[in-house]
């Protein structure tokens, strides 16, 4: 797993407040018991960490941690 993936998983773990949880990249936020406020917290942390802006439309398409990693990697690699 690359740096971005590891960092984003770290952000998810910090928000869920469980260092030991194994984040299944394909599990939906609902399955991970991440509610809408948790998700906003994660998204804000990601935006601040990578100095990017995730639009509401893009956010609507992000359903799993894997989706979030793929989206951020795409934005960061685009420069």
């Amino acid at each position: 797993m690359n740096d971005i993936a590891n960092e984003i998983i770290g952000i998810f773990k910090e928000t869920i407040q469980d260092d030991d949880i194994v984040i299944d990249l394909d599990a939906t936020f609902k399955e991970l018991e991440i509610d809408s406020l948790d998700l906003l917290e994660v998204v804000t942390a990601i935006e601040r960490r990578y100095k990017i802006s995730i639009s509401d439309d893009a956010l609507g398409e992000i359903k799993t941690a894997g989706d979030a990693i793929a989206y951020v990697e795409k934005l960061v690699n685009q420069g």
Partner: protein, 336 residues
């Protein structure tokens, strides 16, 4: 020490916010302020910055009726920028009299939560016959679980201990009866959890009519009920004062008597005066964020800044975090 002030939030912003900020600066020669607000606000009310104050220009304001999701699209709003200054360690605390929902959202998103706290709470001072007591949640979380209510109890307990010096504050749970079996499922479950722990000095349930008596230190309830209680209290108090005024001034002879009772009534009104309290901290977020009454005047803002300074000096967040950690550790041990 530097305090960030959202000068755009509140019914009397920006003028009273700026006046209050200047009073706070005068009070404390070591204080520095970061004033966050619109270009026009500064041009109209503070064209020249005093020493120890700096400004940051915001482009928008979060209004009272906006959803918290809008905050994501208003990163140039005064409350976002002021809270961000705390998140970026440019300021030690933030003070605002604007939308409480927006302030809570900004605090959660930017400052995070204390480890172990799922939902931060809004604590409100409740004027009782035995002085101000604490009630939480005052309106941040309408739907709660028993675990959330336990967090509120632990946070309220830590906060009351800090401000009062009382070692074991008396914690009560709001219900529709004093018996353990009264209340909805969440209240009954919380009563059980509170009874099982010796971390808190739980004194049982109280009913709505007993809130005013003040035979407790910390009153725990959900945000929906808490907000209704606060609003009903305000309404009843205002209504009663109006009725008394009408009655004691109805005839010429009563008016003579009214003059005699006026000082007493003024004293009662003073006990309900929010400006002496200034502001209250959000409990459970990872930084100091002080919420003021929307109608705050300069005096209230001055007191809120003073409160913010005191919270920073007392390592407020660490105190709360330690208590939450101790409670969770004790709970874990008892489950083994």
């Amino acid at each position: 020490m530097k305090i960030a002030i959202d000068i755009m939030g509140g019914d009397h912003a920006p003028e009273e916010m700026i006046k209050g900020a200047l009073l706070a600066l005068k009070d404390d020669p070591s204080l520095e302020l970061l004033l966050v607000g619109g270009e026009k606000a500064f041009a109209d009310f503070l064209p020249e910055l005093p020493p120890r104050a700096e400004k940051r220009i915001s482009a928008t304001v979060m209004s009272m009726d906006e959803s918290v999701e809008n905050l994501r699209n208003k990163k140039d709003s005064s409350i976002y920028l002021a809270t961000e200054a705390v998140a970026d360690h440019e300021a030690d605390a933030v003070v605002s009299c604007g939308s409480t929902a927006a302030q809570m959202a900004a605090a959660v998103l930017l400052l995070g939560r204390i480890k172990g706290v799922k939902r931060p709470a809004l604590v409100v001072p409740y004027p009782t016959l035995k002085g101000n007591k604490l009630m939480l949640d005052g309106g941040a979380n309408a739907d709660v679980t028993s675990a959330n209510l336990m967090d509120f109890a632990v946070l309220g307990n830590a906060y009351y201990r800090m401000i009062s010096g009382v070692d074991r504050p008396e914690v009560v749970l709001l219900s529709n009866g004093t018996e353990a079996h009264k209340g909805n499922a969440v209240v009954r479950e919380t009563h059980q959890l509170l009874s099982e722990t010796d971390f808190l000095n739980f004194k049982g349930n109280i009913e709505g009519r007993d809130i005013i008596a003040g035979d407790y230190d910390v009153l725990v309830t959900d945000g929906f009920t808490g907000n209704v209680v606060v609003k009903v209290t305000e309404g009843v108090a205002m209504g009663l004062f109006r009725l008394i005024k009408e009655e004691i001034t109805a005839t010429a002879s009563r008016k003579v008597g009214a003059a005699l009772v006026k000082p007493g009534l003024k004293n009662i009104a003073k006990k309900f005066d929010y400006s002496t309290v200034g502001g209250m901290p959000l409990l459970g977020v990872g930084g100091i964020s002080i919420v003021c009454h929307g109608s705050s005047n300069a005096e209230a803002v001055r007191n809120a800044v003073k409160g913010a300074v005191s919270f920073v000096e007392q390592d407020f967040i660490d105190v709360l975090a330690n208590d939450v950690a101790r409670y969770r550790e004790q709970k874990k041990q008892s489950e083994v």
